[in-house]
Amino acid sequence: MEELGHIYGTVERFPKPWELDPAKPLTLTIDGEPRVVPPGTSVYDAILKQGMALPSMCYHASFSPFGSCGICLVEVEGKPNLVRACTAPVTEGMVVTTDNPRCRDGRRNAIEKWLLVHPLDCPDCDADGNCELQELTYALNVFDIKEAKRRRIPEDTRSPVLDFNMERCILCAQCINVCKEVQLVDALGFYKRDGYTHVGAKGDTTLFCEFCGDCLAVCPVGAITNKHAKYRFKPWQLAKTQTTCAYCSDGCQLILESNPVEKRIVRITSPLSWRSKWGQGIDTSLGHGGTCGRGRFGSQYLHSPQRLTQALMREGDSLVEVPWLKAITHVAERIAEVKAQHGPEAIAGLITARCTNEEAYLFQKFMRQVIGTPHLDASARYGAMNAVLALRQVMGRGVATVSVKEITHARVLLLIGTNITETNPLAGLRVKEAIREHKAQVIVVDPMKTSIAKLATHHLAIAPGSEGVFLRGLIKAVIEKGLASPAFTASSPQAYEAFKAAAVAIPMEAVEQRTGIGRAQFEAVAELVATGDRVVTIFAEGILARPDGYRHTLLLLDLALLTGQFEKPGSGLAPLWEENNEQGVVDMGAVAELLPGQAFAPQPGATLVEILEKARRGEIKLLYLIGENPVGTLPAGLRVREALERVECLVAQDLFLTETGRLAHVVLPACAFAEKEGTFTNWEGRVNLVNQAIEPPGECRPDWQLLTEVAELLGHPMAYSTAAEIRDEISRRLPGYFGPEGNPRRPALTIPAYLPDGFAEAVPARYALPGDGRDGRDGVMALVLGQVLFHSGKLSTRADGLTQLHPAGLLTISAADATRLGVAAGGRVRVTTPSGSAIVPVEVGAVQGRTGMADGVCFFPEHFTDPPVKDLLPCTVDPVTHVPAFKAGAVTVEPVPPDPDEPAKPGNMISSGPAATSGGNGA
């Protein structure tokens, strides 16, 4: 714009951060003392780094400065006005004064500016006592407010969980920035209405976003409130307990805020808040301290009236409430009886991976030592065991080789078979940070257009179910382009030759045709994965819970070996487990073939499917279930119900009376995660503490306590009075498991031992392309059962907060398929397989506006058992790991005319909610 020079004069351009020499630090003077900072630092950060505090309301460590509040004012020599420190970059030789009467007056004026229009409804406000405006008003001595006037703005109560009170808003934009920069969701924005600036869903519509609640957490005043907790508390009344979330395997830290008088959880917060603005208590590379919608709004099941509070025993056809002691004595008597009559092998047990490490350890000890049966298994068998056994075979221990920190700092991320933002939202957030902060190359291999695929640099929409074929093609591309790591080819030449021979045999045309991905794309991805210096592979249910999951994990490991990921620091594999403590139950040896510490059991017992098979044959007389619900989880094709009905004594320990519990002979009420002590191990292998926040209702007891009581009655006293005593025993058996030095523990790699050991022989079989399971018939679609953002397992369907966000299971089909079938959102279709058919309501386009559907694919959330879509799918059991794969299959979908007698079911989730008038921004 040189032609404007005669109007404005010449301007000295400010150097951009990347134009500065990173090696050349800048010197500045803060309050008379010389300081040295790296270029690109803001004055605010420079002041903070010197250990000095400067008040501010819109600054937060987790996103870039915005400069809206005008409180961090400092005096800079040579500038006529006070400068906002957070947005001013440091320049060479700057002289900054942080504390003089002029700065203090400026800050006071900024506070006063907001107090004049702030409603001062502190007695009513939920933030009262935990309000930054209050704190700064007192801290900066703002007591003389001139003519105050109140903005009269109605409250926005349209969103299902968040209320926006714009009278209280100070327009600091922290909510908008955290949504835009940290979550990369960008659902919130400023808009004008009635002459006032509002914050809310963009375009003044009903907010329907991912509901992570980070906006609620960072709001320094009470402008954004939690609808479920609103007006029911004052911050100082609540007892705060830090614990670990029990939904997904990310292991987020939650703060349960409970009313100590009523002994109820009032709300759930996380370490992220306006108080953590300088990054205290949060390490942003591990996580910004936030949590997801499930963690924040999904606790109502704890106080559900359907919770079991008393032991139940079968009398005839019904279950009747009995005193706890009677039930437990009955269980012990039956165990002793069965053991005496049929031997210990007639007893089997299943445990859920939602229980703590201590309970998993005690369970396997109880089964193996007290009862003496090897037949026990955990819900890690539903998928995680595929990866655990593969990783264990290659590396000696079945655990991720990287932690979230490596995901954040990765240069290349390969996400295969994972809808990470739905299943593990906080791990997904690290991928987003890698995209935003570190400009990582993200390759998403998924048939569906998931949220992360929309942000990724490369989205490879493979044909559904062709993950294994894709991996073979990718390995072939790596070998053909000569991208294998020289270290690997030099150290293990015969393994490399075996790979090469197997790769040559793969017909690339068939791979291209089966996956729908061209050769050029394979080569581009191979180039990225092989040449990137920090490559992290993330995989989950798309690999683990599908047929051949074990083989596909081995293929991923082959790829990692070939590209030298184990040698490069910061590279590795990250399997994401579905449930919160799948890593823990495996490490504690609560699965059939592994002992504590993942040592192989000398006599492996029957696995989940085999236990049910044995039960059906009448070999298992007594089945002990801890939190497990095989009837509700496994497809009807496995005839689980029939198997459990044949068991002479079925004992279920659970929070609720599940489908399986209804078949049980004894049901013992157990404690939820907020009612007991213990530890969870997340997918990284990091051990997190679980602390008790509330008293258990009725006669509920922690699962470990129920086990010790039964053991005592059986004459094998287990002398534990607290969970910490069990933890002591575990740490004696597995030294360093809870220790800070091994947290998370990384396996000592045993790859050199793995490579020559019968490796080359197994390769050709692994690389042979499996048969194409698809039939060419018209109207056949691939049905995928998967997780959605607002649910985890079936427990979350009992939390009102989450059922409001995702009330029912709908079959999602793509828009093209909907047109082809002639159904609209809200219509119904009949889904048919050889096992039967079900009528399912339909959602068109994307799952609640997030996961976009590919043509020829339909998706149903696995959390909902009504309609019974899961019963339609076939189940394949992996020959090596015995993992049942039952979450995908081919179905025929045909439209069903609407039933005139039945009122129209809500079709699209978004239009069924309070968003009916807005059209839904997420649609």
Partner: protein, 185 residues
């Protein structure tokens, strides 16, 4: 002791001087007005500042003043107040006390709760006769506190004025919080 002083003491003892003096004081009161109040037939007039039973007040239009902010609960040194607040059904902007208890057996009548109340919903009245043979009757709930407040509204107002809580009510109104009137969307 001198002889003179000894003689005087003897004379005082013979003439019962101390008793005469004492009786003079006693008989003087026969001719003055008695101060004894014949409770319960008679009752004292109490000053406006008297700290008696605690009550909850309504606004003139009959709506509850209390907004359930629990500041009284914080201010109370003997922890005798318990407030459970909630959102009023259908009025998203209205917080109110769903339950409100004052344990009068523990109250020390310091009046801090009245000082703390930002809406002048609490006051003390001149009534102090709530003795009972059942201690549970002494835990006043919201209903009872409101009933007492309605009955002794004058006293409660007088208390607030005497303690300078409402002396300049109109002037201080802008710093006193009142529920906003429900706003139309």
């Amino acid at each position: 002791m001198t002889l003179k002083a000894g003689f005087r003491r003897l004379l005082e003892r013979v003439l019962l001087k101390e008793i005469v003096e004492a009786m003079a004081v006693t008989f003087k009161h026969v001719f003055t007005r008695a101060d004894t109040v014949q409770y319960p037939r008679q009752k004292r007039r109490l000053p406006d500042t008297n700290r008696g039973a605690l009550v909850l007040l309504h606004y003139e239009d009959g709506t509850e003043r209390c907004v359930g902010c629990t500041l009284c609960e914080i201010a109370c040194p003997s922890h005798c107040i318990r407030v459970v607040s909630d959102q009023e059904e259908g009025k998203p902007l209205t917080r109110f006390a769903k339950e409100f208890y004052i344990d009068m057996t523990r109250c020390v009548f310091c009046g801090f709760c009245v000082e703390a109340c930002p809406v002048n919903a609490l006051a003390m009245i001149k009534m102090y006769e709530y003795a009972s043979d059942d201690k549970r009757d002494l835990i006043f709930d919201k209903e009872k506190l409101h009933a007492l407040g309605d009955l002794h509204h004058q006293d409660a107002k007088a208390y607030l004025v005497a303690h300078r809580q409402e002396a300049v009510d109109e002037e201080s109104r802008q710093y006193r919080y009142r529920h906003p009137s429900p706003l139309a969307k």
